[in-house]
Symmetry: D2
Subunit: 361 residues, 4 copies
């Protein structure tokens, strides 16, 4: 089978570079097109990122001589690829238009941007959690009059460390209704250059603009339902988030206290649920799916970002320190790799799911 | 008035050095005696700490030639000082005995150790919060048969960032009954050498042994009452703590969500209460008392440890980000300097209070 | 005596803020005027720096309500102050013009900028090293037709850790002719925001644009002579510099290997020379002069930036690890506080010197 | 071909763990025996390292249930393996005896320890640099009366960043005779726990005990010759080293100034020499050999530890910033991964070389 051709728009930024790194040996996808801002357009990719390649592996050879297109000029791309991974950095309204325009031209658009996260018929996917939300695509296509086009988005990186564990419990019949979470987030989550060294050496910053709202609201859509072609939020779960920036390169940590709606499991049962949790991406053996979406650490002091972020291709969520809470029922620590699981890797997994389900051909 | 002579036992460790630094120009107290482990005994202080002076100001001249005593040998100290600041590092039972023995010899013992924090007639003081707990000293003296001796302890450094703000609200008639707190604690809180660089560079450790229990239980004693010569805990406040070690030198940050028992204040009222809060140490103008025990920051991203820990002689608690909570009533961020307010500075303030109240002469 | 009125232009940047912090209680100088870019002009200082006050002490009260002027509009300033501390951030040619224009209006301009460092009749001063370079001021005034105006600049922060120790040896008759130095420089040296956390966490960057050239060339002017109204470089000293950025907030460290031109001192003699070194600022008892310009550390592992940068009002250079070199004669480690000694503090000391010498009245 | 069985002694420490990680999928070697201190002996490996597995990949399954032996009890090991990788941590004289004893029992001992680095007939190998030093093994065997036993050691991690580039130049006919190097070394080089966070946050430590001597002396043996069955140092190269500890996890950086003995190459020629350099490990296609032992970075600000340490299986030396030196001929920055190239990976490459040369069978 020949590989599906994909394009990455916003290819020169940090998320774009992660896409390129992760796609460089992908068994199903092949990068055929790169685009960025007009400033980079027309240059070879090596020139365009000169001195700004941020990954700790070299630029994969196959990209070096690709000529970078102008992300705003969709026509250039026609016929070159089927999937567009969007990691552009523009103002929100422009991104909304651009992503719709790409889908309108027949591309399957898989986006990291927050612009369309609350568009009523756009699914916001964590493939292990709400894969059934892809069911909205026929409605979406009908609504916009698209044929092969589609638009799916991934949620904010901060929610990845807790939505999968909470979902696994819900699926086992235990519904969380209140949750207080404090995140300790890595600097790569802010893109490049992101926070200044002067702000983060010997320091933490207890504020990330817009992050708490996303961390509280997005899970309600992820846990929601489709009704009449649009997503209805699940507001039975109330989340309060404190988001902090800490001097860590990659890996968001979350300290979570949860209360169950009615019945609550024993600690051992929770551990069993988490360790046994598998979902559609695992059953479909999607290439980027972690073998175990949730890894339970039994040491007293884990998970830790530097030690656990790379587990299972950096796609697993590591949890640990499950213990009773004096105020709610339980507390635990969750951790995920924000630029892989929480960004490019999560989006590639979405594209794999949409391909396996034949929404992308 | 001649100064009161004080001794510091455990003088060579990090807390001991902070005592010496803070006491070097104290208007009421004068260090007349230093003691440490038998290994240091008999050496001059400069020799004893050689290469291990951890402060960023030089060793004050007056200590350099003091001969270090053996902390375990109380008789040496008799007649040399009235107050003993205890920062020894031994096993818990030994500390318990040693501190009682010092008090038995007539010293006013002010301790940083956790050993006696839950001894029923030993006050655990945050002078702005529970200064009336010194009322137990006559009972304590009666119970142990002490004449001038006394024993008072300070709570764990992690609680300083939230007990004062919570207390100020209680005093204004607003009782918090549930509270979930996540701390981001500095490495100096672990003493020296403390956590390895290998553990904390590009990392956070979501666990500090024993710290969560202290953070949850100690406030109940601090907010408690004296009945029949012993402290009765206030268990109307339930606290759940997540304690993390972060790569910060000094300054513990706390992300706090609180629920009020019954009536709740408006945000503006809370700010007024905090900004206006003064207590006995301020009214007595104790030398180490901060002018404003609670400093409210109005910027979106404050307090931050490196920027706010040194405010008001490093004795103030800085709070900020007061906002509504989706799950409880409000959330905020609190910050205090763990080795000053939370350790040596807090203990010196206790000694000043006990002196002003004439328990120490 | 009433205080001399001074203005700070570029008052909202990191160096400007350091000026304000250091001048807030100055015995001779009083800040009467603040200016910054047109964007800040017309606002109160508190508004202009809102959320960008970077110091770890609060904004001194006296500045909060000062109305910020436009640094480019010199007329505004006339009559308000005698000294202008320049910390503006513009392109080099504009700074050159602006500083000359200020001097032309009669101000004594003391600048942190590199723009005029190699102007032939502008002294580049380290007051303990080349205070006699102020002798050029009459020539300078004659050349430009200035009456009370003058222009003096301070050298780059990176040279402060080694020029004073080298000078002390020269003065004792021991001339260094070759020197290889590797600097480990703090992030505050790059201003704010400066290097990204993503670039410096778990990393060092072995390059700082333009810094090596400055580190090599500026000492030749500092050690130079005045001939016919212009500075002649001392090119008998050849310096090769490797400049690195390291994850340190403040404090530049230099690892130095030196060769003497002809005769060389013994190690003990060097230590005596350094410990005994005093210069004109000490003899004049200038308010910002450190008591000991060079502090010799005898521990095996000092100086270190966090522990030694603040010594003697952060104005001393700390040196240590003096030992023989296998290739040259000796090696040592020097350290100085880059934003105090190496920037605002050094410039204030220059202004004090110029005042004591009655060039400023 | 069945794999050669190897043992790792000192298996629970940081270097030992790196061995296990790197050997877990080795094409030639298979770990058949693990040993550590008596405290760990008798436990399964998982138990023995419980909570102290420091790698960021999980413990490879095949080691978890291996029973850890007592490194001091050689008899246990007889018949279980042919190669012993030694990473024990004891006092020097004990290590010397122990390693000789292992070789005496017929093991090929490949050691990370410094104990035997200056034993006259023990080769200290950087396989790309002095592979011909294995020629001493017949002499060694004759001298000690060993049959299959042998002892080879690797040099200190700090020298790896510069000996290969210097060697490549020597081989091309350009001999360096003077060299001043300043290293910025990662914390993992000190083993675990290594330096305290309190010592390295917002700080650098300009001293590492014993490191400068090793950095200066070991290259003289590496570049030396065998004469009459013993190594004669090459003292035509004089090195002066300044060694610093910096807050970096892995990767030692070296700022190097070099002078050539007589003729000197042009910059372009040096780059050609480095980029074209290959040696015996590359020609033999040893499994751990990097394809390019020296990678030349052309960006202004590289190499950097976090970005370049992992290049080519973390076995390449990255160099950059080659430029003229004002004092010597040239300067450059070198970088290598200290726990891989500079420790376990370098030792495994030595064992591969010894196997390819049939000293190990």
């Amino acid at each position: 089978m020949s590989k599906i051709k994909v394009g990455v728009i916003g290819a020169t930024g940090m998320v774009g570079q992660n896409y390129l790194r992760l796609l460089s040996n992908h068994p199903w996808f092949e990068v055929a097109y790169l685009a960025a801002s007009p400033r980079s357009a027309g240059k070879s990719f090596s020139e365009a990122v000169a001195g700004r390649w941020l990954m700790s592996t070299p630029i994969p050879e196959q990209y070096k001589d690709l000529v970078v297109g102008d992300a705003g000029n969709i026509k250039e791309e026609l016929g070159k690829c089927s999937i567009i991974f969007s990691a552009v950095n523009m103002e929100k309204e422009k991104i909304k238009e651009l992503e719709l325009a790409y889908a309108g031209e027949g591309f399957a658009v898989v986006s990291n941007n927050s612009a369309h996260r609350h568009t009523a018929d756009v699914p916001m996917l964590v493939p292990e959690v709400n894969h059934e939300h892809t069911d909205i695509i026929p409605d979406q296509r009908r609504h916009y009059g698209w044929d092969t086009g589609l638009l799916a988005v991934k949620p904010n990186c901060s929610v990845q460390s807790y939505v999968t564990p909470i979902h696994a419990l819900k699926e086992a019949g235990y519904n969380v209704d209140k949750m207080i979470v404090t995140t300790l987030q890595a600097v790569s989550g802010a893109g490049y250059p992101g926070p200044s060294s002067y702000d983060l050496l010997d320091n933490v910053v207890p504020y990330i603009g817009g992050e708490e709202e996303k961390s509280e609201l997005e899970p309600q859509k992820i846990f929601g339902k489709i009704e009449e072609g649009r997503f209805i939020h699940d507001d039975s779960i109330k989340i309060s988030a404190h988001c902090n920036r800490v001097p860590v390169i990659d890996g968001h940590t979350a300290c979570v206290s949860i209360r169950f709606q009615d019945k609550k499991p024993e600690i051992n049962e929770i551990i069993q649920i988490w360790e046994g949790f598998k979902s559609l991406p695992q059953r479909l053996e999607l290439p980027s799916a972690p073998e175990h979406p949730i890894i339970v650490r039994h040491e007293a002091d884990r998970p830790q970002p530097r030690r656990d972020r790379d587990m299972d291709k950096a796609m697993a969520v590591s949890v640990g320190r499950l213990r009773e809470c004096n105020v709610f029922d339980y507390r635990f620590v969750g951790l995920s790799h924000n630029t892989v699981r929480g960004a490019a890797g999560g989006a590639i997994l979405m594209a794999e799911l949409l391909t396996a389900e034949e929404y992308i051909k």
